[in-house]
């Protein structure tokens, strides 16, 4: 019955829920879904992490390669992040080249990582002008149920934290490269960027409601392509705010969103640390 109502009068159905200050899945407006995290489950990748935020599932795998640094930046390595939205993650996408939305998400994630400066590219350089690491990070969305950027960033950071770089011996005279896989060092990570997504809902044209960690259905109801507002924090510093469509935001709303994002950062940090220590993986 409720399903029929939802299909025939989607907006009214959604408004009814908002009026009684709850969401379709029973959460409060500012409540996050449970985060489940598992690291190093894929052995073919050099580091990997699987994240589930509610139904949204993202798998991140890192592959290491070696290359000659760019001539204009001889002491920097490479960090290539890509988000894949294969057709199987949602009925919205068709097989083929990445959709516009996938490219937008890809860019947002890359910008957040770049702006937060959590990886110093100088650490990835082995011998200036001769040899540097290329870190290919591929985030694959297996199940797209909203708040994709949040999940991507968590997966990426968790796999960075487990990444071990093999030691490389480079002979400058013979240009011979030797890699010792048994001796590995941790990659240095500065800070811990966390993104928080919101959907901005205009309730009866007057009231603006922020829905934290929206599901796919909520994102669609709020009119945007994906989440409307993405706030990314890195250890108390903002490293990017994106506003993509949806209702207009007042200053108070904005401040509230930033406060919520800050709280979320602490929660995510706890999850990642708990997972890495192997204590448990649930929030």
């Amino acid at each position: 019955m409720s399903e029929v109502y939802k299909l025939i009068h989607p907006v009214k159905h959604f408004n009814d829920y908002i009026s009684i200050k709850t969401r379709l899945d029973g959460r409060n407006f500012d409540e996050h879904r449970n985060i489940k995290l598992n690291v190093n489950s894929i052995k073919t990748a050099d580091a990997s992490a699987v994240v589930k935020c509610g139904n949204t599932t993202v798998v991140c795998g890192i592959k290491l390669e070696l290359a000659v640094p760019k001539a204009e930046e001889p002491d920097l390595g490479f960090l290539i992040t890509n988000v894949e939205l294969p057709a199987l993650c949602s009925s919205k996408y068709r097989p083929g080249p990445p959709s516009d939305y996938a490219q937008v998400i890809n860019n947002i994630v890359s910008e957040i990582i770049k702006n937060s400066k959590c990886i110093d590219l100088k650490d990835l350089c082995i011998v200036p002008d001769k040899l540097a690491w290329v870190v290919y990070c591929d985030m694959v969305c297996i199940d797209h149920d909203g708040s994709l950027v949040d999940a991507c960033i968590i997966a990426l950071i968790a796999s960075f934290k487990t990444l071990l770089l093999p030691s490389v011996n480079y002979d400058t005279e013979t240009e011979e490269i030797k890699v010792e896989t048994n001796e590995r060092i941790n990659l240095k990570i500065h800070g811990l960027p966390v993104a928080t997504s919101f959907a901005v809902y205009e309730h009866f044209q007057s009231q603006i409601i922020l829905l934290t960690d929206p599901t796919n259905y909520e994102e669609e109801m709020c009119g945007g392509n994906g989440s409307n507002l993405i706030i990314s924090y890195n250890k108390g510093l903002l490293c990017g705010i994106q506003k993509l469509g949806g209702g207009s935001l007042s200053t108070e709303n904005n401040e509230e969103a930033i406060r919520l994002a800050e709280q979320h950062t602490i929660a995510v940090e706890k999850v990642i640390n708990a997972c890495l220590e192997g204590k448990g993986t649930n929030k």
């Binding site: 894929i42 073919t44 070696l66 000659v68 894949e84 057709a87 993650c89 490219q103 290329v134 199940d143």
Partner: protein, 310 residues
């Protein structure tokens, strides 16, 4: 390589660090010797004729993996991890004639980090296309395609980690996902593969075994994948790569038939769990509907009495 403007690209000449390690320089004979020890046990502790599906914990399968899809399944053979999702039938795009039989659109995609040797490219390569076609051919006889003329069903496979027999795992996953999506089918489809190196048969091979079987110099070498409709006793797909004599092929076929039979109860168990879950959900929904209808009816009576009162 053509530049891909839709993604971030790394430097063109980057190579995996693995080619500079000691293991990379191993010769073929050394690699072959590494495959099994003196007792005939394989690297992961299995016998030569032991599939990964034999023990309970090695093969893991479940349905309802992807919430956005109509039906989905996840199959894990030790390290090989495969996700499959099936979507609602949709009209076949760009076609100008009526199709009596529904079409299956299959796509197999490897994750960029799925293979131990090289990074996979983003654009579909030849191997992926070949697997997609093999998958479609295997599934077509199993699905009642005459029920949805002029429509196509998307069967999408994503391989998260490739550690051998990924086609077999993909077919098993696709069968489960199709059943989960309530697509009418003739029978449960199961699949298994064997790698042949010389006189040795590796059932359910790992990636390294497959690699050696492909590049072997022996007379009999190769990989055979077969999928079977077990109740109908039909072979829906048979793929052989490499070269071997007829005697060897027939021997392998017998073994594969037996292995496919063994997987059936595992698949059935997953499906039963799925059906029970859906049944309970339906019961719950019906109860809820009844409750709501009663409330509505009461409201209706109230209004009716109000109207009559006037």
């Amino acid at each position: 390589m053509p530049l891909d403007f839709r993604r971030f690209n790394g430097p063109e000449d980057s190579v995996s660090y693995k080619i500079y390690t000691k293991d990379y320089l191993k010769t073929y004979d050394e690699q072959l010797k590494d495959l099994y020890d003196e007792n005939g046990k394989r690297k992961d502790g299995r016998e030569l004729n032991e599939a990964r599906s034999m023990c309970m914990f090695c093969m893991f399968a479940r349905t309802d993996m992807v919430s956005q899809a109509k039906g989905s399944a996840y199959v894990e053979l030790r390290k090989t991890k495969v996700v499959c999702s099936v979507f609602d039938p949709r009209e076949i795009p760009h076609q100008n004639e009526f199709r009596q039989l529904g079409q299956l659109y299959c796509e197999v995609k490897f994750a960029p980090f799925s293979c131990p040797r090289k990074r996979r490219p983003y654009v579909p390569d030849v191997e992926e296309k070949a697997l997609s076609v093999a998958l479609r051919q295997a599934l077509e006889p199993a699905v009642c395609r005459h029920f949805f003329p002029n429509y196509q069903i998307d069967v999408l496979i994503y391989i998260l980690e490739h550690d051998g027999s990924c086609l077999a795992a993909a077919i098993n996953a696709a069968g489960l996902a199709l059943a989960n999506a309530a697509v009418p089918m003739f029978d449960i489809i199961t699949s298994c593969s064997v790698a042949v190196i010389g006189n040795k048969m590796f059932i359910d091979p790992t990636e390294i075994e497959e690699h050696i079987a492909k590049n072997s110099t022996e007379v009999n070498h190769g990989i055979i994948t077969m999928s079977v409709l077990s109740q109908l006793k039909q072979i829906s797909d048979f793929t052989q790569i490499g070269s071997m004599d007829v005697e060897c092929v027939t021997k392998v076929m017998e073994v594969l038939l037996k292995e496919c039979e063994i997987i059936v109860p595992n698949i059935q168990r997953v499906l039963v769990v799925d059906v029970v879950k859906n049944f309970e959900l339906k019961k719950h929904l019906e109860a809820e509907t009844k409750k709501r209808e009663e409330i509505l009816k009461k409201k209706m009576d109230e209004w009716r009495s109000l109207l009559n009162g006037q």
